[in-house]
């Protein structure tokens, strides 16, 4: 197997591109795909400050590394979710990555800063842990971005993630979710812009990128995610992909090119109806945001309202008790 670029020995085959790459040209290929996604969807403008949501897993660390290599100002945000040893180890990977590269890592710890954790929230709400986890992440990414005056929040969602979410949303015709499933969600109504620069790269390529660049990451699966429907969708899509390489890419990018527009009308109506959470000031469709309701039900400490107006986003930055590393 030879590298498509230099004809040297290849270390990986990327079947959907019908191509093999050596280490050097595989890294170049990953950089090229991220650049292409950023440019095609106007994700990040030159000079903008990027907050990377870092979990300690392969995707978020690879994303942070790639954005740094490509010259973007990217700082990390790690959320301590309180999922036992898994969270403890994940935090170590994130901190070690940042320290080795001299990058800034912000941290929020659910237990320390809000008095609850994901297992406790799942028990209190009697819903799957991924629900409380996702809700907490989305709220705190927005909040830290606002407080730190970041222009954009970048997450490590890759092609497999997006194809699996799309698959699940189509199976149940979740039209409101289909309207939001874009590689970029623009800023507005108090929310920062959110981008997914890895949408042109697969999960397998991200794991390979970490291995060839020496990024140490959390390989073990989140114990709370085992058996969730998202993994089932990925398994189904991978069975198809094995027989028909390129299916996941065609499914997702075909949706973006030919179907996504039809679902956008509902998204505009939702945005127009947002007001300010009475407890924390975050944008919400009701008088209290879902995060504050979750914290209260979990027996945690509600965040303090700092007086910011989500419509104008001109509040005074406050610190949540997060630590920063140089």
């Amino acid at each position: 197997m030879k590298c498509r670029v230099c004809r040297g020995p290849a270390i990986i085959d990327v079947r959907r591109h019908n191509a093999n790459f050596c280490v050097e040209h595989f890294i170049e290929q990953c950089e090229r795909q991220v650049t292409k996604a950023i440019d095609a969807f106007s994700m990040i403008a030159p000079g903008e400050r990027v907050l990377v949501a870092v979990s300690g897993g392969k995707d978020s660390l690879a994303l942070w590394d790639l954005l740094h290599r490509l010259g973007h100002h990217a700082e990390g945000l790690y959320l301590g979710l309180g999922i036992g040893e898994y969270s403890d180890e994940s935090g170590v990977y994130a901190r070690d990555f940042a320290a080795a590269r001299g990058l800034v890592l912000h941290e929020v710890d659910l237990r320390r800063d809000y008095g609850y954790d994901v297992p406790r929230a799942a028990a209190a709400t009697r819903r799957v842990p991924c629900s409380a986890c996702g809700l907490s992440k989305r709220h705190l990414f927005d909040e830290v971005a606002r407080q730190g005056n970041f222009d954009v929040v970048a997450t490590g969602h890759n092609l497999d993630d997006e194809a699996a979410v799309l698959f699940g949303n189509v199976l149940r015709w979740q039209t409101e979710y289909l309207a939001r499933q874009m590689p970029v969600l623009p800023a507005g109504n108090g929310f920062p812009r959110k981008v997914k620069p890895l949408v042109r790269l697969s999960e397998r390529e991200m794991a390979a990128y970490c291995i060839v660049t020496g990024i140490d990451y959390q390989v073990e699966e989140c114990p709370m995610a085992a058996g969730n429907s998202h993994l089932g969708y990925k398994e189904a899509l991978n069975s198809i992909e094995e027989r028909s390489p390129g299916t996941k890419h065609d499914f997702y990018f075909g949706f973006l090119d030919r179907a996504a527009e039809a679902f956008r009308e509902g998204l505009a109506q939702d945005a127009a109806a947002l007001s300010s959470c009475r407890d924390c000031g975050a944008p919400t469709p009701s008088d209290r945001c879902a995060f504050c309701r979750l914290v209260e039900r979990s027996g945690g400490r509600l965040p303090e309202h700092d007086g910011h107006d989500p419509a104008t986003a001109t509040g005074t930055p406050v610190i949540l008790g997060r630590r920063e590393r140089p």
Binding site: M1, C130, C133, K137, A208, E220, E221, H230, N238
Partner: protein, 66 residues
């Protein structure tokens, strides 16, 4: 060869050298879902694994949807 598997972490012994494709097939693993690593280096799909190799089959799937 010793083959390390993950989730849960365990090691199995496979007798005799064979191609990557054959090993994955015998273990019932989809090539889209794992990477084959030998001495810290990726082994491509047409690679051959020797009987004395220490091999890791690393899953690439992560379960978070949020």
């Amino acid at each position: 060869m010793n083959v390390r598997l993950r989730n849960p972490s365990r090691t199995v012994q496979i007798q005799g050298g064979r191609s990557v494709a054959k090993l994955l097939n015998e273990l019932g693993l989809n090539r889209e879902t794992v990477l084959v690593i030998r001495n810290g280096t990726l082994v491509p799909g047409d690679g051959f694994l020797e009987d004395c190799d220490e091999v890791e089959l690393r899953p690439v799937i992560s379960g978070g949807a949020a």
